[in-house]
């Protein structure tokens, strides 16, 4: 067991995270504001085009995305939440014994069914078989 922090130490230990946040936001905001103040502003149509490694961009960046991305986002979200549930399980299953370990495995197995489903139905394949047969 790790030593438990007292309540005052708990918030003090999180002040490092606060400091990190302030530094991260301040770094980006400071940079943007500093350059906004000192840079000259001479805008031409050429300069406003999207930078694409020197190539002429074709169309805008605001294209409609392929709906198949959604299933990938969905699978990501579900396993993101699974990770959240497994974290406290991983911390304590050792002290609670074999039954607790199996409970966690059951949790994983149920979600594996979901992954197997979307995989078997072809939602994870970028080019589907029926697309190739009849475009």
């Amino acid at each position: 067991m790790p030593p438990t922090l007292s309540s005052a130490d708990f918030l003090t230990s999180w002040s490092a995270v606060l400091l990190y946040f302030v530094a991260a936001v301040g770094f980006v905001a400071g940079g943007l504001i500093f350059w906004w103040v000192i840079r000259p502003s001479r805008i031409t149509a050429e300069k406003l085009t999207t930078y694409e490694c020197g190539e002429e961009p074709i169309g805008g960046a605001w294209v409609q995305f392929n709906v198949r991305f959604y299933v990938f986002a969905l699978v990501f979200l579900v396993f993101d939440v699974e990770a959240v549930f497994l974290l406290p399980w991983a911390v304590v299953f050792r002290e609670l014994g074999a039954i607790a370990f199996l409970e966690g495995l059951f949790f994983i197995a149920v979600l594996a069914i979901g992954l197997a489903y979307v995989w078997r139905k072809g939602d994870l394949a970028w080019v589907r078989l029926d697309d190739r047969v009849s475009p």
Partner: protein
């Protein structure tokens, strides 16, 4: 005026967040933005649970409920956005006003 945060302070912040979420839900025509309002309301409810866990007598239970609320929110947003995409495919618009098939 006592500036040290107490239970009432957290409840008031949560009430304001809930009211803002409700405003978004009922005034926005775009389905995705209405969903953002729902997310604000869920966050305010969660803030209440955690605040009662801190100041009330329930111990850790409020935080466990909060975790379950977040999971339900994740499932809700997944299905709701799928419905928005289905609506978009049928009506070519993400506006909620377009879903009128069942209107009498």
């Amino acid at each position: 005026m006592n500036l040290e945060p107490t239970l009432a302070h957290y409840l008031l912040v949560s009430a304001a967040l809930f009211a803002l979420g409700l405003l978004g839900l009922i005034t926005r025509r775009n389905a995705v933005q209405a969903l953002m309002g729902v997310e604000l309301m869920l966050n305010s409810a969660n803030l209440n649970l955690v605040a009662f866990s801190r100041f009330g007598t329930g111990g850790i239970d409020g935080q466990v409920f909060g975790t379950f609320v977040i999971v339900v929110a994740a499932a809700e947003v997944a299905v709701a956005l799928a419905l928005v995409l289905a609506l978009y495919r049928m009506r070519r618009t993400p506006n909620l006003d377009a879903a009128t098939t069942l209107r009498g």
